[in-house]
């Protein structure tokens, strides 16, 4: 089983290069091979997730064994938490690549598109599997550099400008992260997360640790677009081609930003109250200000991008409450509930935000505008797009029985149990504004009556796009099952176990 882990990195990497070579010779090679490979990875990751996710698997590259309990190899670690991320990366990647078959045909150089998509997935899989800080940085750069290129894929004025802005801010973030990794190496003399964790938990923490943690929050906060560092997100996510927007908003900000923050702050550093309060505050600010900025937008993809900031705020809020309780030695059950809410919302956000971006792409594909004021009455001509976007809008605004309701409910219950009444109130308040904002989206895009110049040619989008949207709509309903006891322990339980029980994580890698 352990030897299967590198498949998640090697297979998409090899596909990326094969597409560039064989895609020129064999017609349609890129269109068929990318979805097939991603379907294979989806099945593999879900198989691991359902069968074996309470164990953690460790693969050491080159087969180097630890010497005197010091791990010297580069490790790939696959535990419950990585598996959740792996599954959603492959799943959203698969659906986005199916969707791209018809969407991307209006662009030239399809080979480059699919190749970059595969590289992005390689990078993200590598980030979530890596057990080594520098390796994590390398995979992070693979995924973000390919996303820079994908944002600029349209090569129009807006795309290029957004990509430049994204690259400059992403570059600053990368070097801050590298600086922080250097400082961690200086302090602990190791790059292995588990080994560094042993060192950091044995020594008494000082202000130097605090400095490293703040650098890491800045760096990964920039990648995850938390509030003071969010400036690039609305531009980049709205300028990219729609399937890529779905990948960026649905997966990349989680795999490259939130995942690493959660992994390092739970499994590497000793939980400190200052940092956990800082994280919770950042989450709350992103949650509130993101939605307030979103409500005034008339460009659908910008509106969705601002909602991404707001929804990621929910995730950070849930995780932050969990970290505060762990730092204060509070009740473990409340901490577990808060973390469960955060992780659950992260999974849900990938599905419904991915779906919303695909809907926006479908609308743009047919009427060539992203301005809500120029749309209207689309529900008759595009019933599938209308129906699935209604499902996703209800899910994101937290209406039962869709998945967003349950994850928000868990976060709010955890906040009340931990006695953060203000945070619980703000979470409810933001949810209501989100609902208002999506009512506006629904009304202007699908129900309002306006005259189109090309009304007669307006019809539903081609089958591959419809297929991805319907499947994601079903997943919006299906994922609400994760809230119920039995399934929740099976899927989210091991991830929470890994995060709250650092000793076990360390033990699974170093064997001490």
């Amino acid at each position: 089983m352990n030897s299967l882990i590198p498949i998640f990195v090697i297979v998409p990497l090899a596909t990326a290069f094969l597409i560039m070579i064989l895609g020129r010779i064999i017609n349609g090679f890129q269109k068929t091979v990318t979805p097939l490979i991603l379907l294979f990875l989806t099945i593999l990751s879900f198989y691991f997730l359902i069968n074996n996710n309470s164990n953690s698997f460790v693969y050491s590259i080159g087969g180097w064994e630890p010497i005197e309990n010091v791990p010297i190899a580069i490790y790939f670690v696959m535990d419950g938490f990585s598996l959740i991320l792996l599954s959603i990366i492959s799943l959203i990647g698969f659906l986005a690549s199916i969707y791209s078959i018809s969407y991307i045909s209006k662009f030239t150089s399809e080979n480059n598109f699919y190749s970059l998509l595969c590289l992005m997935i390689t990078g993200m899989n590598g980030v979530v599997l890596s057990g080594d800080l520098f390796n994590l940085f390398v995979f992070l750069e693979i995924s973000v550099i390919s996303s820079y290129a994908l944002v600029a894929f349209g090569t129009q004025k807006e795309e290029l400008e957004a990509s430049f802005k994204y690259q400059v801010l992403g570059g600053i973030a990368s070097f801050i992260i590298l600086f922080a990794i250097g400082l961690i190496y200086w302090r602990t003399k190791t790059l292995n997360i588990a080994d560094a964790s042993i060192f950091l938990s044995s020594g008494n923490s000082n202000t130097f640790d605090l400095f490293i943690q703040i650098l890491l929050i800045t760096g990964f906060g920039l990648k995850a677009a938390m509030m003071p560092f969010h400036a690039w997100l609305p531009d980049a996510h709205s300028s990219a081609p729609s399937p890529i927007s779905a990948m960026l908003s649905g997966v990349l900000i989680k795999a490259a930003g939130i995942y690493v923050i959660i992994r390092l702050f739970f499994n590497m550093f000793v939980a400190s109250e200052e940092i956990s309060i800082l994280l919770t505050t950042l989450g709350t600010i992103s949650m509130v200000i993101g939605v307030l900025l979103a409500i005034g937008q008339w460009d659908i993809k910008r509106l969705l991008a601002y909602h991404s900031i707001s929804q990621m705020g929910y995730v950070v809020l849930g995780i932050g409450i969990g970290l505060i309780i762990i730092a204060r030695d509070g009740k473990p059950s409340i901490a577990a509930l808060a973390i469960a809410g955060g992780l659950f919302h992260m999974v849900n956000h990938a599905v419904f935000k991915g779906l919303l971006f695909l809907n926006a792409g479908a609308i743009e594909h047919r009427i060539n505008t992203r301005n809500l004021k120029e749309m209207g009455g689309l529900s008759k001509e595009m019933p599938v797009t209308s129906g699935t976007s209604f499902v996703a809008s209800m899910a994101i605004s937290g209406i039962p029985p869709f998945n967003g309701f349950f994850s928000k409910l868990i976060i709010i219950i955890a906040a009340i149990q931990a006695r953060f009444y203000l945070l619980a109130f703000l979470a409810v308040f933001v949810s209501i504004i989100t609902l208002a904002s999506f009512m506006k989206f629904q009304r202007y895009a699908f129900f309002n009556k306006t005259e189109h110049s090309n009304k007669s040619t307006l019809k539903e989008v081609p089958f591959p796009m419809v297929f991805s949207m319907i499947l994601m709509g079903i997943l919006c309903l299906l994922f609400s099952l994760l809230a119920f006891p039995g399934i929740r322990e099976q899927i989210l339980g091991p991830a929470i176990e890994v995060l709250t029980n650092t000793d076990q994580y360390v033990k699974s890698i170093t064997g001490i």
Binding site: F134, V138, I145, E161, F164, V168, I172, F175, L178, R302
Partner: protein, 112 residues
Amino acid sequence: MIVYILCFILFLVGLYGIITRRNLIKIVISLSIMEFSVFLFLVLIGYIDSGVAPIVDPGNPTEKYVDPLPQAMVLTAIVIGLATTAMLLAIAIRLYRKYKTFDIREINNLRG
């Protein structure tokens, strides 16, 4: 200690350049300055006074070696930095073709 502080000042010089410069190419150069200050820092971490290259000599076991790991890290990071810079310059050239200027004050389609 003074070397580390100079290194950090170089980092801040890069950051200052990114924030204040108006020319796309100068922003790219500032980003490179920031990048190389980090590389310099990584190399400094592994440096030991009067250390030699880490090739183990069985005849002389008491030799002091510098830490090879940061050097390997810097080599990898330079390659990544090359990719980032190439990508940035490619986008800057495409922007110049569209707008006929490198001035970011005139490249401002995206607002709000």
